[in-house]
């Protein structure tokens, strides 16, 4: 069964009718961990705000838990949890007061759904009398997640929960999400970090308000059209410049310690020619081999279309 359905949803802003979301259609199944992956300005927040009934679409229809986002906004507001990208709790209330406040607003109590937040709450409980405004970034994030969960939502919307967060804390946050998923909560999460895409069940790659591709991370990777090589040598920046003017280069970009390269000719002969060419150009310690593309490779490839 579907938890979230979007049908050609569009959103424009201002007098110039600047398009933020351009005819987006997608479906999130119940119990799924679904990722919206794309850079700033892709339209992720607009989609979240429409699905949480905070913004009206200009076109198209959408439902959350079967409820229409325009007509049935009251039901949706009772059922979903939303963690905006910007910290939006009461800065001058303590941790405990914030959680109690949100529980009361939703007509429930912390005790009633304590199971759901226990794992996360115990980590901030020692500071429960501290005001939210005085918390560290990581603690704020955990408190916000508790407040979004306290009424046992059916769908949880998380808008860029890991932006600006270091790799270790990001990993911890995703482990929390996996545990929530086991509690039958559907999770829709957005992120600009491509490496987090593989942690989702399915993802939508999104840019300029348009969906580039929707599928499981594995299938997206499998659909990468070209043979991809990783290559490195001494003087990496010169290597990049050289490969960018090499006539048989289809695409070449930096990727960690290697460059990722596709050639117009995928034969072994072409590989040998290239290495010979680079040696003639004075490159040393050349290392070249095939590599499995990642989501970031796929995104770059889709952006070129």
């Amino acid at each position: 069964m579907e938890a979230v359905v979007l049908n050609n949803v569009s959103k424009t802003y201002g007098k110039e009718r600047k398009v933020a979301v351009d005819s987006v259609s997608l479906t999130v199944n119940k119990g799924e961990l679904f990722g919206l992956i794309g850079p700033d300005g892709a339209g992720k927040t607009s989609i979240f705000r429409m699905l949480t009934t905070l913004l009206l679409p200009d076109g198209g229809t959408a439902t959350v838990d079967g409820f229409d986002i325009v007509k049935d906004y009251k039901q949706i507001r009772n059922n979903v949890g939303y963690m905006p990208g910007k910290f939006s709790l009461y800065q001058d209330l303590t941790i405990e007061e914030n959680i109690n406040f949100f529980a009361t607003v939703f007509g429930t109590s912390v005790e009633e759904n304590y199971d759901l937040i226990k794992d996360i709450y115990v980590q901030i409980e020692p500071f429960k009398n501290r005001r939210a405004g005085k918390l560290s970034g990581g603690m704020k994030q955990k408190l916000a997640l508790c407040c979004a969960l306290i009424h046992k939502p059916t769908v949880l919307f998380l808008d860029e929960p890991t932006t600006g967060v270091d790799p270790v804390s990001r990993k911890e946050f995703w482990e929390m999400l996996k545990r929530l998923k086991q509690q039958d909560i559907t999770i829709v999460v957005s992120t600009p970090y491509m490496d987090e895409a593989t942690l989702c069940d399915r993802i939508a790659l999104i840019q300029n308000g348009r969906i580039l591709q929707i599928d499981t991370p594995d299938k997206i990777v499998q659909s990468y059209p070209d043979k991809l090589y990783q290559i490195k040598a001494d003087r990496m920046y010169d290597l990049l410049k050289e490969l960018n003017v090499y006539p048989k280069t289809l695409s070449c970009f930096t990727f960690g310690e290697y460059l990722h390269l596709s050639l117009t000719d995928e034969s072994e002969q072409a590989e040998k020619e290239l290495i010979q060419h680079l040696q003639n150009k004075g490159f040393h310690n050349i290392e070249m081999g095939a590599v499995t593309p990642g989501i970031e490779d796929c995104f770059i490839q889709l952006l070129k279309k």
Partner: protein
């Protein structure tokens, strides 16, 4: 001989009982791309503020572009550039007005500003946008412009605080092209990032944990040292032991 442009010796900053930056010692060379990594709350921003002459250390020594961080902070500010994700250009000024404004702040002559703004607009392909308000530019363009403005006065060092957050992977790479170019011209790059693939683009990196520098070397050597296949693993190995959050 390598020219040292940043040199710190047991540089420390305390806030009351809290030691935000704890005896960090490092040297950064001319034209080097130096990655300054650490978990949230490790003390990177505090350290960077001292290196930029914005915060007086509690103890220890440091010279930036040859100037002392206690006594010559105004000289430091003239010889460095600074850009952060939060630092924005003036959104309600045009591209050209921003360039002229910052050129003026850094004390460039009108003639200099004129030639440099033309060169900059050409390099970024922004000629047609010279009279566009910065507020209406896409984020990626703003970041590139912001970087170019930060090095307009040919500083010895440019400090970049998470410069590439939030942009798409293609724009992020174009941004790194600008960084390499500047380093080729002899400008030292001191950069923080949460993208571990970007750590690989640095000549050397340091990793801070709980106020101290726990590792400092080239990415290749660090991976060897920690027997790791990626910088992500190295970072995880070091930072997971961190006691303090942001």
């Amino acid at each position: 001989m390598k020219e040292t442009v940043i040199k710190t010796d047991k540089l420390t900053k305390r806030f009351g009982d809290f030691v935000a930056t704890n005896e960090i010692s490092l040297e950064v060379y001319k034209g080097e791309i130096f990655g300054f990594l650490g978990a949230n709350g490790a003390g990177k921003t505090t350290a960077m503020r001292m290196l930029c002459g914005l915060s007086i250390p509690s103890s220890g020594q440091a010279t930036i572009a040859g100037f002392d961080v206690y006594k010559q902070t105004e000289h430091i500010k003239k010889h460095i550039g600074y850009m952060s994700q939060k630092f924005s250009l003036y959104e309600d000024l045009t591209v050209l007005e921003n360039i002229r404004f910052f050129g003026g702040i850094y004390g460039l002559s009108n003639a200099d500003i004129k030639t440099k703004s033309e060169a900059l607009l050409n390099e970024l392909g922004l000629q047609d946008e010279a009279k566009t308000l910065v507020g209406s530019l896409p984020l990626g363009w703003k970041q590139k412009l912001s970087f170019s403005v930060a090095i307009l006065h040919d500083p010895k060092i440019v400090f970049l605080d998470e410069p590439t957050g939030g942009v798409d992977p293609v724009t992020r790479r174009q941004f790194w092209d600008l960084i390499y170019n500047a380093a080729d011209r002899g400008i030292t790059i001191f950069v923080t990032t949460h993208y571990m693939d970007e750590a690989e683009y640095c000549n050397r990196i340091s990793i801070m944990v709980d106020g101290r520098i726990q590792a400092l070397d080239s990415p290749a050597n660090l991976k060897k040292q920690f027997n790791a296949s990626s910088m992500d693993e190295v970072f995880f190995e070091l930072a997971r032991g961190a006691k303090r959050g942001e």
